[in-house]
């Protein structure tokens, strides 16, 4: 039966190729669209490190959260590192962990993040170790290591600027000491260093003032996070502006202080883990108004990352709904196209069916023959559609990487399987109905 079905299919290869192309395109698009929208949506929640609060310069909450958790976009203005210690001692708040976060340089297009070992909570190493207190060492993401052929002990050189536009030929090397396991998150595409390393790369904290000034001058315009600019952010008053009740200690106040500030240790955000909502409330309340740090006024914000990401996710889910509707329309068109092509094919097969009936082939066998043929077509189409969707995911991966999402190529959801199963059934059902109708007609005259 199968052998004959294949021979019978060979006769109609042009029509069959058209049907297969039609199914592959529609089913492939549907599966791809679902997979991408689903993984983007899930990526925003599943891969989000759990922090109670993120403290950063005042500005866009989304930008602060997305930059800190997904390494997307530019960081907001930098804030003094001394705040890390101050947060730990906020009266009434039970602080479990405070993690500094700074983003500055890049390596081969991958962003370089300065932080502490605490940032890797929940993540595991594929090989090597965390950088601990060792400066000029790095832990690299899975994709970075794979794409750049990095191994433990290899020395890499970063470029100034988070986008890697400004290359510093004299840059100091960083030794890879650890490679993260694959996480299917933005961590895969990032290089992590000790925060002191990041400062050292920019000459901050070194004793050689001359060298330091030279270095700062080089990077001043490129990495705002490492230089406390005190400029207004997203419509907010500038640091040290009229809101400062303790005294006008803004950037313009004293060039000597500013120079000290620019040479000081800064971060772009601080991640905080507390014991609960009460502590969160205390901290959030503190940063509602301008705060004075080292005699200078700053406008900061403490955001709940979960809430912010949830808002982003809601927007994504709205897009997802549109994607689902489009998938439905595509599949509906697929049903129509397959049905029309099947009916046309069956019409052209009328003679063939009548012939088989005349020589004694039963209606059941004829039905089975055509159902097998279309099952083969459906199966091949579904497999190809799946393959095409996976191939396209490779390109989509590069696209969504800019959102801090890494698509897991091996993730297959139940809905995807159901879509493909539905397409398979759609490809067989019209034929089954047509053959039942047509095989009952004994087309012979008397």
């Amino acid at each position: 039966m199968l052998k004959f079905a294949l021979k019978n299919m060979a006769i109609k290869k042009v029509q069959i190729i058209l049907v297969v192309i039609s199914i592959v395109i529609s089913a492939g698009i549907a599966v791809l669209a679902f997979n991408v929208s689903n993984q983007v949506s899930q990526g925003l929640t599943d891969n989000t490190p759990k922090y109670s609060l993120i403290i950063g310069s005042r500005g866009s909450k989304t930008q602060l959260a997305m930059n800190t958790l997904f390494f997307v976009d530019e960081p907001l203005d930098s804030i003094p590192y001394t705040l890390v210690n101050e947060i730990k001692t906020i009266p009434g708040a039970n602080i479990e962990e405070v993690i500094p976060f700074a983003m500055a340089d890049s390596y081969a297009g991958y962003k370089v993040v300065g932080t502490t070992d605490g940032y890797f909570g929940g993540y595991t190493l594929k090989e090597g170790k965390l950088f601990g207190d060792d400066t000029h060492t790095a832990v690299v993401g899975y994709n970075v290591a794979k794409a750049q052929g990095l191994e433990i002990g290899k020395v890499i050189y970063t470029s100034h600027g988070a986008n890697g536009h400004k290359h510093d030929g004299e840059n100091q090397g960083i030794t890879v000491v650890g490679i993260l396991d694959r996480t299917h998150s933005a961590f895969d595409n990032t290089v992590f260093t000790n925060i002191e390393t990041l400062w050292a790369l920019h000459g901050i904290g070194e004793h050689d003032e001359e060298h330091k000034e030279e270095h700062v001058a080089q990077t001043k315009s490129a990495i705002s996070l490492l230089t406390a600019t005190n400029e207004p952010t997203h419509g907010e008053p500038s640091n040290g502006g009229d809101h400062d009740t303790e005294g006008d200690t803004g950037k313009d106040e004293s060039s000597g202080e500013n120079e000290h500030e620019e040479h000081g240790k800064t971060v772009s955000a601080i991640l905080v883990k507390t014991d609960g909502l009460a502590s969160n409330g205390i901290i959030t309340e503190i940063y509602k108004d301008a705060v004075n740090i080292e005699g200078k006024s700053y406008f900061l914000q403490a955001i709940n990352p979960d809430e912010t990401i949830r808002t982003v996710k809601e927007d994504t889910d709205n897009t997802k709904a549109i994607v689902y509707v489009l998938c439905g329309v595509i599949l509906l068109m697929n049903v129509m196209v397959i049905t029309i092509i099947t009916i046309l094919n069956m019409y052209h097969s009328t003679k063939e069916i009548a012939l088989m009936r005349l020589i004694g082939i039963s209606a059941g066998k004829i039905n089975l023959l055509y159902v097998i043929e279309n099952a083969i077509i459906g199966f091949i189409s579904v497999i190809l559609a799946f393959g095409v969707s996976r191939f396209c995911l490779l390109f989509m991966n590069e696209f969504v990487a800019s959102w801090g999402i890494v698509i897991n190529m091996s993730r297959v959801s139940l809905v995807e399987i159901l879509i493909l199963l539905g397409v398979f059934i759609i490809s067989v059902l019209p034929t089954a109905i047509c053959t039942v109708i047509m095989s009952k007609r004994d087309s012979i005259g008397g």
Partner: protein
Amino acid sequence: MIEIKGLGKQFQNETEIIYNDMIFQQGKSYMLLGASGCGKSTLLNMIAGVLSPTNGKIIIDGINMAQATQKQKDKFRIEKIGYIFQDFKLINEMSVADNISILRLEGVDVSKMDETLKALGIYEKKNAKIKHLSGGQKQRVAIARALVKKPDIILADEPTGNLNFAIGEQVIKALTEISKGKTLIAVTHDERLAKYFDYVINMDEMTSGISDIVSPKEVE
């Protein structure tokens, strides 16, 4: 043996054909002559179970085909009857072998295919596509397909209709030769082929080589 009793067939255009009682003996060959529309093909189709009679009985080996279910008729047709058509009823895009192997769908043993093709002189065309064969060759393939399953009854509806006399004669000669020992009923217009059959039945003039076969009467 095929026995026909009180057989009649009415079509949707209200044309009715009434057949006189007839008996076709096992192992004999019959040639049906007659003008178009006199009911020759209809008779073959009713014997084959493709058409159902309006009245009467067709008793084959004790079974009344007129009352059989479609499934029983299909089974009977595939097992007992070899049907040869004027327009061959072959799949042009397939090879000779594939056109015969199609019977395997119903579990028919086609192991005698080579032998049958050789007997009909077209073995060398076994793997050729039907569309590349001549009319005579196509008809031989159709005959081979009908005979390869070793049926008890062979029905041939105008098997030479699309062939010139010389080739038609070759085909009939081969057909009657290979059908020896089986019941062969062939419809043809060409009286010159009558010599190859045991009996000739003129369905128009009610003349026949056997006393109990008479031609049908057509009633408008």
